[in-house]
């Protein structure tokens, strides 16, 4: 059982027996008024989305999902293929079901695929993933108003801001929960 104060992006809850994931979350509290939890929710089965505002007294059941450890194999058009390493069973997820994880999908990466009554619904991957920088412009001092960061492109096509000392070909660690750079990885 969750209470409204547990709500956050990525939390999966059950509403009318369907699994929903919180895709956007905002805590609002008008001056001296009560706390309100504004959520955008996505139905994990049919993809329909809606906004709802909860109060601190509201409670939720967790969504009844199973997780299975699988390996990412390849992408074919808009389908992403994952395989169970023990049974060799393969499943396909849509771009929408893969979500932000698409930024970190390198061949053979391990992933937790979510199932609801044997239907694959989504995927989550490790909190930290190491990726190669495939495109980084050399940085000249004074280039940027932000001073100490620059944009780079990773091997998956994902673009993010990193410290200026990061160069093309280097490997960096990314926090997949925030999409942010964490540190440089040696070797």
């Amino acid at each position: 059982m969750y209470t409204a104060s547990d709500l956050r992006k990525g939390l999966r809850i059950k509403i009318d027996n369907d699994p929903y994931v919180v895709t956007e979350f905002n805590f609002v509290k008008p001056g001296k008024g009560q706390a309100l939890y504004r959520c955008r929710l996505r139905n994990m089965i049919n993809g329909s989305q809606f906004e709802r505002t909860f109060r601190s007294v509201d409670t939720f059941e967790s969504a009844d999902l199973q997780e299975k450890k699988m390996q990412y194999l390849y992408q074919e058009e808009e389908k992403y293929c994952f395989m169970d390493n023990e049974s060799y069973e393969q499943v396909f997820l849509t771009r929408e079901q893969v979500g932000d994880a698409v930024n970190y999908l390198i061949d053979n990466i391990e992933a937790q695929v979510l199932f609801f009554e044997d239907r694959p619904l989504g995927v989550s991957i490790a909190n930290f993933v190491d990726l190669v920088v495939t495109k980084a412009d050399p940085w000249a001092k004074g280039d940027s108003v932000t001073g100490n960061q620059k944009p780079v492109t990773l091997q998956t096509g994902y673009q993010l801001l990193v410290p200026t000392f990061i160069e093309e070909g280097e490997k960096i660690r990314v926090d997949t929960r925030t999409g942010e750079y964490l540190t440089r990885v040696k070797g």
Binding site: F27, V28, K29, V57, T146, P163, E180
Partner: protein, 314 residues
């Protein structure tokens, strides 16, 4: 490992926040200079107190048998009652369960109190304070926040709560209170539309929404309380202070009853504050969110961007 390489992710986040933290530091200096120049005395009052002011929807974190303050209000009013005419404080405040893009459970508040003034004087203070801070930062008297230009030339917009409900909702404030949706309408329909292009003072709240504010002589159903909004952000809450001890006791009792109804912790009676209130001269006081002001000045879309550490970093 080279010297400029961060050892963990938190350190890179710190590095990126540097420009905003520099703006924040200069802003704090400017805020102090403004009040000191206007004859205000800077005071410090304890952050750990035995009895917070009871409010239905503000929760003080327990600290041993006492509490961390949710605002320095009660101690500052005792100073007013003791004859300190103009005082200000920049204080850490604590509120349980408040975490979002605009909320931290530990945040910084600027409060100032002036004897003999009312809430209209506080509005004028705000109109002078922000341009002063911008000038101290070497900037023109306008903000650009998230691409929106906010002109700070006085006078700023003044909009009554009743008028705001008329303009942005289908309910009157009384109907909204009766239906239990006052906060929803305020947060979802009204607040995002305030302070657009120029700051807005939203004023004259239903007395039920202002447990420490004075009622209006002309309309006792309303309290002389206002909130300042800039670019949809709530920046400050001020009011003409309630100095009637009997009425203050009643309002505290109502707030405590409401807390009990909501299943929230009760607080002890703020005895020394109530004892001093009878000696407090007519006054006005206001609390301004320092982190929120830093957000505006540093053009940060989240409060996380203007503090060195958020709870999740620790």
């Amino acid at each position: 490992m080279s010297r400029d390489e961060p050892v963990a992710g938190g350190e890179w986040r710190l590095t990126r926040r540097r420009a905003a933290l520099e703006v924040r530091a200069r802003m704090l200096q400017a805020l102090r200079l403004f009040f000191v120049s206007a004859g205000y005395l800077e005071v410090e009052t304890p952050a750990r107190i035995p009895a917070p002011a009871p409010e239905a929807h503000i929760d003080a974190p327990p600290s041993g048998d006492w509490f961390l303050q949710t605002s320095p209000e009660l101690c500052m009013k005792r100073l007013l009652a003791a004859g300190y005419g103009r005082i200000f404080q920049i204080a850490k405040c604590y509120r349980d369960g408040e975490r979002g893009d605009r909320h931290l459970p530990e945040f910084t508040m600027l409060e100032w109190y002036r004897q003999a003034g009312d809430y209209r004087d506080l509005m004028a203070d705000c109109e002078a304070l922000l341009p002063f801070v911008l000038e101290a930062l070497g900037r023109e008297a306008a903000l650009v926040y998230r691409g929106e230009r906010i002109d700070l030339a006085a006078p700023w917009e003044r909009l009554s709560v009743a008028e705001a409900f008329r303009r942005f909702t289908r309910l009157s404030p009384e109907e909204a209170l009766w239906n239990g949706c006052f906060d929803e309408r305020m947060a979802l329909d009204i607040e995002p539309r305030l302070g657009r292009g120029r700051p807005t003072f939203l004023y004259d709240y239903p007395a039920a929404c202002a447990s420490l504010a004075r009622r209006k002589d002309a309309d006792p159903g309303l309290a002389e309380r206002f909130e300042l909004y800039i670019a949809g952000l709530e920046m400050a809450n001020g009011f003409s202070e309630l100095t009637d001890v009997a009425e203050q006791r009643d309002r505290f009792a109502q707030a405590r009853a409401e807390r009990e109804r909501l299943g929230k912790a009760d607080y002890p009676t703020a005895g020394p504050f109530l004892a001093a209130l009878g000696a407090m001269p007519p006054a006005a006081g206001i609390a301004l969110g320092v982190d929120r002001l830093a957000m505006l000045l540093a053009d940060a879309d989240s409060i996380d961007g203007v503090v060195a550490f958020v709870p999740e970093d620790l």
